[in-house]
Amino acid sequence: MSVSFCGLELAHPVINASGTFDLIAADTAFGASLHAEFPFAAFVSKTITLEPREGNPPPRLWEAPAGLVNSIGLPNKGLEGYLAYELPVLAELLAAAHAPLITNVMGSSAAEIAQLLTACETRVEIAAVELNVSCPNIETGLDIGADPTQLEAVVREVRPHSSKPLIVKLTPNTADVASCAAAAEAGGADAVSLINTLRAMALEQARDRATGRRAWLGGSTGGLSGPAIRAVALAQVAAVARRVSIPVVGMGGVQCAQHARDLLDVGATLVAVGTESFRDPCAGRHIALGLHS
């Protein structure tokens, strides 16, 4: 069951999807029982940006048919805060679990991303970096990851700033995700991960005389995750795995070992669990055990 991924030796192929598991909070909530059945073979941080972000105003969640629309807005302490306060704690928690740390970063320009990678470079606690070029719930303006040419240029420009494995997390909100994956590979990515959430929205139920009906989510639009997107994820992961020769991290609606098996069978090397962890914090572990048997 153990698997090697970009030079990392992992106990099994199941990790968390970025932004869907706060290890420090989970440790507070569950303590020893979390470590007794640690769910992931590697841990991916939430997206870290150069500057601190408060995130979007509430409401941030909308439950959709067999899924969830979120408009969290990437709240984080910012690069400095992350390195100073979170990284040491994460590293300590993960050492116990023998799970390497993958830090997920996002920047709105190559220069910004280069800064983020450079900062990560100096920290041994960080085993790999995941570059989020696909965040649908920030004010629009095309995602960097939505256009292959733009994506390849950015990856090529930032690549030299990191000697660590670089995973490019693609956006699913694009015409041809396989071309985007190929562009990331050409730019120098060591792996790609997908799918991120599908751009989605919801309306408040009540109709206000003055304003009519406003968007339910404080961030107006959000991203759809969970079982609802599983068949879309499988198609995108299959298309990407056929196209690139670097390893692929597949995710999207994975709830059980069978769903993980599907992604592995179409070519994924690792599988990430997101929304299902909200229903069961130990979902990752149960899935890994299920794959085992």
Binding site: P58, R60, L61, P65, I72, S277, R279, D280, P281, C282
Partner: protein, 265 residues
């Protein structure tokens, strides 16, 4: 971690249900803590193919391995839970979050509850009455929309009641009763849970009088353990996650109670 519990009771109480789960292995909850609950079978496939995620419920009572919850059917998740039969199974994660800090010896506790928000006050009163040095008996003020909901008051002892329609007790708001109580004893400490407008009125009332208030907030939640960052409420020090920084929060940390931070109205 998540436990599979058996339903040993689910009785109607006016407009509410009291759901009882056998939880022999579960840790004893602090008053104000909550659990994420989901039916093991048929969770999903309701209105709009929901529910999908578990739902948060305050522990209303706990003794010898039995956990009691007070539920109001306001949508697909609570609807399914209210329909649970004895013997069916429920996924439960908890107890979660930060509960109520108890009053210091001699300090008088005023419990202010609105609607199904009375749930955490039940276990709080249980604890205060059990507490040896609780020389000063807690005051209990409860507000309800109507008579059917006012039935919930039977879960607490010596409650003063207000109903919007005057069908039961004082006609008007529970905060009318609170104003009177605070007038009599500004040295009290207030524990409140209920709809956002009630919590905001309570916060404002206590703020002007300099009375400490501990508010049990609510918010739409996906996970309940800090993973999703979906349950935040604005505070003086930015957004806080109700599930791990709360649900109980000191009123002075809030500029005002967010419209989405209360119990179902």
């Amino acid at each position: 971690m998540r436990r599979k519990l058996t339903v040993i009771g689910n009785r109607k109480l006016g407009a509410y249900n009291v759901l009882t789960l056998a939880d022999p292995a579960g840790p004893r909850p602090q008053p104000g803590q909550f659990s994420m609950l989901a039916a093991v079978a048929d969770w999903g496939g309701g209105q709009d193919e929901r529910p999908h995620l578990p739902r948060a419920f305050s522990v209303a009572r706990w003794h010898d391995g039995e956990a009691h919850y007070l539920l109001e059917d306001v949508g697909p998740g609570t609807h399914r839970l209210c329909a649970l039969q004895v013997g069916e199974e429920v996924w439960a994660l908890g107890p979660l979050g930060r509960g109520f800090a108890l009053p210091v010896a001699g300090q008088r506790a005023i419990l202010v509850g609105g609607g199904v928000g009375i749930a955490p006050l039940v276990i709080l009163q249980d604890q205060l009455l059990r507490h040896d040095d609780a020389t000063v008996p807690p005051v209990v003020l409860l507000g309800f929309r109507d008579r059917a909901r006012a039935q919930g008051a039977t879960l607490l002892q010596g409650a003063q009641i207000a109903t919007d329609d005057g069908a039961f007790g004082h006609r008007g708001l529970v905060t009318d009763l609170l104003a009177r109580e605070l007038g009599e004893d500004p040295q009290a400490v207030v524990y409140a849970c209920g709809p956002a407008p009630m919590l905001e009125a309570t916060r404002a009332m206590c703020a002007v009088r300099g009375v400490p208030a501990r508010l049990a907030l609510e918010s739409g939640m996906a996970c309940g353990f800090g993973a999703c960052f979906g349950c935040v409420v604005p505070t003086r020090d930015g957004y806080l996650r109700v599930c791990i920084d709360g649900p109980v929060i000191d009123a002075e940390r809030l500029v005002r109670v967010d419209a989405h931070a209360g119990a179902p109205e």
